[in-house]
């Protein structure tokens, strides 16, 4: 293991604290503060993986994860970006997408076959003969993909989430971001600062160049960081990558937990009044042959390897750069012991003279107007050929490190995904912010700035502008700072070079997809003339690193190749997440929210098998026998209890309550009488039944009504929607959860109830369709209704939810002699089906209207002044012969019931079975079906087509409804 440079103030490692990890089955050691990649590098690893298509060796290139070069399998998790994932004790690290090893990949012959694979070649091959494709596809699938995930992989760790509100949110904790934070925080606002690295400082943090008056940039960064940390109103999130910005200033990101945090990662969602983007720059890759060979690195990568992780990135280096940062890095790295053979600078002039002097002082030769043309070395860099820009002169130098960078490129994704626009700037050669989204400001290097003072001042300015959006600060102050910014050095001239003077067969514009300059030319020749189309055709920028590597170069190259003017150069689209984000992180805590009734626990104890029904969980069965024979027979013969608490329950009151009911219910609600219940239905404007339930009059313009379980959540909204123009004065109170409902049903129901209540429950005193209010034991107020949904003597008791368990227990006690039992939703389903009482959604679908299901009798057509919802459509459709009708049927020859959902057919589909069961009560199979009108006559034979029936049909006959107790004696007894 390499000895680290451990005297540098910029180091983020602690060489005294070793960390062990496993790599390819062997134990290795890194130090605290290492990333996985820096630890591997220290152990001599240079080839981290192999590329997708050509299996080319790949190594450390940038340190910010713009490409998949250092993606590895870590603890079973694929595609972990090792270059910015902190090393942890005991990590198990493996290479991915290799046959053999990254060092010796048996698939590396693919690199020679690139001539067979021009851009989009796969569209032209492997489909003839047709049989070839499925075989070829299998191989393609195997070859594609990078990491592996096992189907039974269980993601360890705790994932959390927070939702924050703030005045100003600042993305980027470099000098500009920190200045922005400080200036807006000074106004007393709430400020959030997000920084993707574990520490603040950004562009200053790892540099030892002078800031001012002998202070290094690094020290300045630390100063600012201390000021930021000291402000109570700045909420600081380090190690928190911003992954999304949305117009209207929503910002999302994820934070990587420290040892002391309770989470491994947490999703962070921030609603800000204004946003400052100070995300800095990445480097623009230099395009030359073998520009991604291990040993080729970007400037900041080489420099930060030394300054942050204490490792020289190589022994002998050649620089090919186009930016002063490259000169500065050469000087610093030289002073740390790196041999620098030569610095080739794309620029003919414009270099900082002070830096030039320092290079000269160190005898580092500089070649102006030169660029790397080709890296040599089969697996890692051994030599590099430099070329003059015009390609006329070349020189080949031995080296093991090529520091290559065409320049910088602002990180603008945060701006564009929020609908801001960019403009190509000829001076810097960069895409710079043009139209910013509302209340979003750019600062620092995003603006193309390079001068330390200018970067800071632009941060201050952005912070002040953001503060002004929150109503703090003065325009004078903003003007003052703006003047200062204007007086400081503006953006530095940038290199416009796109590629070295090479043909580009092995010049990779996109590492992740193995796309070369040659591929781009091929796409252009085929008529794909805009970058977005080229992206699709060549997959450039669609790999794990997205546009990080090719995003800037692609449009530049396309424009150059087509000799388009600068104004037509458009950036490619950037899409969230701006940093690849784990699904477990996005999922966060993922609390499941269901409703339970007051009877939940008791029913589970009684063996209830629960199902989700809408927002509720309900007991559907009370035994493993899903035909529910016992439950059903007990209701028919004795008495059963069903928890119907999920029914929607509402009070409507106020001067216009009746008007509102008239609008939404199809019946004439003025005919609802006190002490009686009225069954009615609500339709949508198309006359389709949305809901049914009962209405009780409590007083003048004061009603209590029920809705189906699924509609309860929307009923208030529905009624208000359909009366929104009327200005009526009525009030709705949702009592759904307030009242539990016990459905006490069966011939012995009265005998049970009379033991519990004090009122007279005889048929004369409390007959069918009646409504009564009373108290149990002088304490529990109950609303009781005589209904007959299941077709037996039946009481629906509405009981305050907190008393539900008590009443339930009383009834259970009282019912013991009559063998009272629970019954569940499925038993109820069968019981009511035998009675041909419909359940909406089961005997109806979205397009079924009131008349289709035989509920036309509910419709009062004389109240047109009420503008009842659905009435117009019902009138217009009532004579349409093409509509489906609900019918009852029995199976022929005592056959079994068809399955729910079976079709009614002849040569066409003519309808379908809604619900059908082998009825225990009737001893035959019965059901209801929606069929075309001409099949709805009694006696019609129905041909039934079930799934998997082949040519075997079963037959039923349309019969009169209901099947069970047609006179309705039992429910009225």
């Amino acid at each position: 293991m390499m000895n680290r440079l451990n005297h540098l103030p910029t180091l983020k490692i602690d060489t005294a604290r070793k960390i062990s990890f496993t790599y390819k089955g062997k134990i290795y050691y890194g130090v605290t503060g290492d990333t996985i990649a820096s630890a591997l590098f220290a152990n001599g690893v240079r080839i981290f993986g192999r590329s997708l298509k050509y299996h080319r060796p790949r190594g450390l290139y940038s340190l910010d994860g713009e490409c998949s070069n250092t993606c590895m399998q870590v603890n079973g998790i694929p595609n972990v970006r090792c270059e910015n994932t902190l090393l942890e004790d005991g990590m198990v690290v493996a290479e991915q997408n290799v046959k053999g090893s990254a060092e010796n990949d048996m698939m590396s012959f693919m690199d020679k076959l690139d001539w067979m694979m021009p851009a989009g070649f796969y569209y032209d091959v492997m489909h003839k003969p047709a049989k070839l494709w499925p075989v070829a596809m299998k191989q393609i699938r195997k070859a594609a993909g990078l990491g592996k995930i096992s189907p039974d992989f269980k993601m360890p760790g705790k994932y959390d989430e927070i939702f924050l509100n703030t005045d100003v949110c600042i993305i980027g904790g470099g000098p500009a971001g920190m200045m922005a934070a400080l200036s807006s925080a000074e106004k007393g606002l709430r400020v959030i600062l997000m920084e993707s690295r574990p520490w603040l400082g950004g562009f200053f943090e790892y540099r030892s160049a002078e800031y001012k008056d002998g202070q290094t940039l690094h020290d300045r960064a630390n100063d600012l960081a201390a000021q930021v940390r000291a402000r109570e109103n700045i909420r600081l999130f380090t190690h928190t990558a911003c992954v999304g910005t949305y117009n209207n200033n929503l910002v999302t990101g994820f934070q990587i937990g420290k040892k002391s945090d309770v989470f491994d990662q947490r999703y962070v969602e921030i609603r800000a009044k204004s946003v400052v983007v100070a995300a800095g720059c990445i480097e623009r890759p230099l395009l030359f042959d073998n520009n991604e060979r291990p040993g080729v690195m970007q400037i900041a990568c080489a420099l930060r390897m030394a300054k942050t992780y204490g490792q020289l990135p190589g022994t002998k280096a050649v620089f090919s750069i186009g930016h002063d940062l490259g000169l500065e890095a050469a000087i610093e790295l030289h002073d740390l012991g790196l041999i620098i053979d030569c610095v080739a600078d794309i620029r003919e002039d414009g270099q900082d003279p002070a830096l030039m002097q320092k290079l000269m002082d160190r005898n580092i030769p500089i070649l102006k107007g030169w660029v790397a043309a080709k890296a040599h070395g089969r697996k890692v860099v051994k030599k590099v050929t430099l070329s003059s820009i015009d390609g006329l002169m070349t020189r080949t130098l031995a080296c093991d490190l090529v520091v290559a960078s065409a320049g910088v490129t602002p990180v603008t994704g945060h701006i564009t995904v929020a609908l801001g626009t960019l403009k190509y700037d000829g001076h810097t050669g960069c895409f710079l912010p043009d139209r910013m989204p509302e209340k979003m400001y750019a600062a620092g290097r995003v603006l193309g700035l390079n001068d330390a003072m200018a970067i800071e001042a632009s941060g201050t300015l952005a912070g002040l502008k953001a503060a002004a959006d929150c109503g703090a600060g003065s325009s004078e102050e903003i003007g003052k700072v703006a003047k200062i910014v204007a007086s400081l050095p503006g953006p530095a001239r940038g290199s416009k070079l796109v590629t070295a003077p090479v043909k580009g067969r092995k010049s990779f514009i996109c590492f992740d997809e193995d796309a070369t300059i040659k591929n781009i030319k091929q796409a252009l020749a085929k008529g794909f003339d805009v970058p977005e189309l080229i992206k699709r055709f060549t997959a450039t920028g669609l790999g794990p690193g997205q546009g990080g590597i090719p995003g800037h170069n692609l449009p530049l190259y396309v424009a150059k190749y087509q000799t388009l003017p600068d104004v037509s150069i458009r950036p490619t689209n950037v899409r969230p997440p701006l940093v690849p984000t784990l699904i477990s992180t996005y999922a966060g805590t993922n609390h499941t929210m269901f409703k339970i009734t007051a009877m939940d626990q008791m029913q589970r104890k009684d063996g209830g098998i629960f199902r989700n029904i809408g927002v509720w969980q309900r007991a559907r069965y009370f035994s493993d026998d899903f035909s529910c024979k016992k439950e059903i027979e007990n209701v028919r013969n004795n008495v059963g209890m069903l928890d119907g608490s999920t029914l929607g329950k509402f009070r409507i009151h106020g001067p216009d309550a009746l008007k509102a009911l008239q609008r939404v219910y199809v019946s004439d609600m003025s005919k609802v009488k006190e002490g009686r219940i009225k069954y009615s239905a609500m339709c949508n404007d198309d006359g389709c039944v949305m809901d049914d339930g009962v209405v009780v009059k409590l007083g003048e313009n004061d009603y209590y009504f029920t809705t189906s379980t699924g509609r309860a959540g929307q009923t208030a909204e529905w009624i208000r929607y359909h009366t929104r123009y009327d200005g009526w004065d009525f009030a709705l109170v949702n009592l759904t959860d307030s009242m539990g409902v016990i459905n006490l049903s069966g011939p012995n129901a009265r005998k049970v109830l009379e033991k519990v209540v004090d009122i007279d429950v005889s048929n004369d005193a409390f007959g069918f369709s009646a409504y009564r209010e009373f108290k149990i034991a002088d304490t529990i107020p109950v609303r009781a209704m005589r209904l007959g949904f299941v077709g037996e003597l039946s009481y629906e008791l509405h009981v305050p939810a907190s008393y539900m368990q008590s009443v339930w227990i009383m009834l259970k006690e009282a019912g013991k002699p009559f063998n009272i039992q629970n019954f569940g939703v499925e038993a109820q389903n069968v019981l009511r089906m035998e009675k041909c009482h419909i359940i909406l959604g089961q005997e109806s679908e979205q397009r079924t209207n009131l008349l289709d299901v035989g509920l036309g009798f509910l419709w009062d057509r004389t109240k047109s002044e009420a503008k009842t919802v659905g009435a117009v459509a019902l009138r217009q459709a009532e004579n349409d012969p093409a509509r489906l009708k609900l019918v009852g049927f029995k199976m022929e020859n005592n056959g079994r019931a068809p399955k729910d959902g079976a079709l009614i057919v002849d040569t066409k589909v003519r309808g379908y079975v809604c619900t059908a069961r082998d009825s225990f009560a009737l001893n035959e199979a019965v059901g209801m079906a929606l069929v075309e009108a001409d099949l709805s006559r009694i006696g019609t034979r129905l041909e039934i087509f079930e799934d998997e029936c082949g040519d075997d049909r079963i037959y039923g006959t349309v019969v009169k409804m209901p099947f069970y107790d047609p006179e309705g004696k039992r429910m009225k007894m």
Binding site: N247, A716, R720, H722, T723, Y725, D726, A873
Partner: protein, 90 residues
């Protein structure tokens, strides 16, 4: 995109707290003499404006009120066009 809707009762909130209630089409038409065409126009047909439209929203996870706003369908941003906010039922 991060829709926010300004509820006249609760103020500016996350758009997911609301339910969209359709383009503004005016009060319910009278039943008498309503042709199938006119009925369909009121119930089903939309202008599908790419730009600012007036529309209904319900603050379903909040106060429950129905109200109208103007919103640009090409940006999802609300537009402050001052109109008398007609509130329903409340």
């Amino acid at each position: 995109m991060a829709l926010t809707i300004t509820c006249p009762i609760c103020g500016k909130r996350n758009g997911y707290e609301f339910r969209f209630g359709g383009e503004e089409k005016g009060p319910r038409p009278e039943e008498e003499g309503l042709t199938p065409e006119a009925w369909c126009d009121y119930v089903h047909l939309n202008k599908c404006v790419a730009g600012v439209q007036e529309e209904w929203w319900c603050h379903k996870d909040g106060c429950g009120s129905w109200f109208k706003i103007h919103r640009d369908t090409t940006t999802n941003l609300e537009k402050e066009i001052k109109t008398v906010i007609e509130e329903a039922g409340k």
